[in-house]
Symmetry: C2
Subunit: 166 residues, 2 copies
């Protein structure tokens, strides 16, 4: 099974593609970040994100896509902005008829480190270790996207548990 994990954002959308073999072992296939720039009009930035996600899906043919469910404590402008990026990402997923699961940050932390209160460093360390990488993936959004893919692999194995398709 090939899983595409995505950590959405307007400026930086992290992505990580992980293959899980029949023994359950996780193999990193590709990871990185889709970057867009503040100088670019927002509708073009959304178009760039949409095109990049389509390219990733076409290139790697994932069996499933997982994203992080985002929460914001104060800034509604940021929520709208990230919401727009999530919108075009979900559209690309829908147009490929791929199963999509959304996980809370706590579910991702729990699945990757065993504790819902893990910090960024712990997540990066576990992602690096679980995928046999030589160094922690950069930027943070890329490490987070790989963590989301790992979370989905673990949840799928357990027959569980994301917030599916809502």
């Amino acid at each position: 099974m090939i899983i595409l994990g995505i950590d959405p954002g307007t400026a930086t959308t992290g992505y990580g593609i992980v293959r899980q073999d029949t023994s359950g072992k996780l193999i990193p296939i590709d990871f990185g970040a889709i970057l867009t720039f503040p100088e670019t009009p927002v509708i073009e930035r959304l178009s760039q994100i949409y095109d990049a996600v389509n390219l990733l899906i076409d290139k790697h043919s994932p069996d499933a896509v997982a994203t992080e469910r985002l929460f914001f404590s104060k800034n509604e402008t940021t929520a709208i902005s990230v919401g727009r990026a999530i919108g075009v990402i979900l559209l690309a997923i829908a147009q490929h008829n791929l199963p999509w699961t959304e996980y809370t940050p706590m579910q991702v932390k729990q699945a990757v480190t065993g504790t819902g209160s893990a910090d960024k460093k712990q997540i990066q360390w576990m992602v690096t270790r679980l995928l046999g990488l030589k160094a922690a993936p950069k930027p943070d959004d890329t490490a987070d996207a790989l963590a989301i893919a790992i979370c989905h692999a673990h949840s799928a194995k357990l027959g569980a548990l994301g917030v599916r398709n809502r």
Copy 2:
């Protein structure tokens, strides 16, 4: 000039298409609402909104699109949800290379009624009158979308003033 006004939402996206003739007169071409249902998975709802906006653009070939800039006082979950819908709407606009302008609710009220503090009833009354309609367009989101299109027509005439392309 043909203007497409859109009032975005996940459940109800209002739309209004207005033509402005060379004398400045506004003629309603089409208006209504794109409805999606809570039982439908969110990625399919986004896909439906995107497809419907593409259909409207293909059918009416607007010269410009205007949307309302939304603000939320408390609910970030709603902001994310509406943000997702805005994302796929802006993508459809970007893919048609159409000029896009965003107006604040106050700009729309000011342009349509002459006062930034107008209520829904006043806006509906003015939209009905300015477009020579027999009754106020329903639902509210449709009246709002027509108000946004009218706002853009007035602003374009004055050589002004929306929040362009950001």
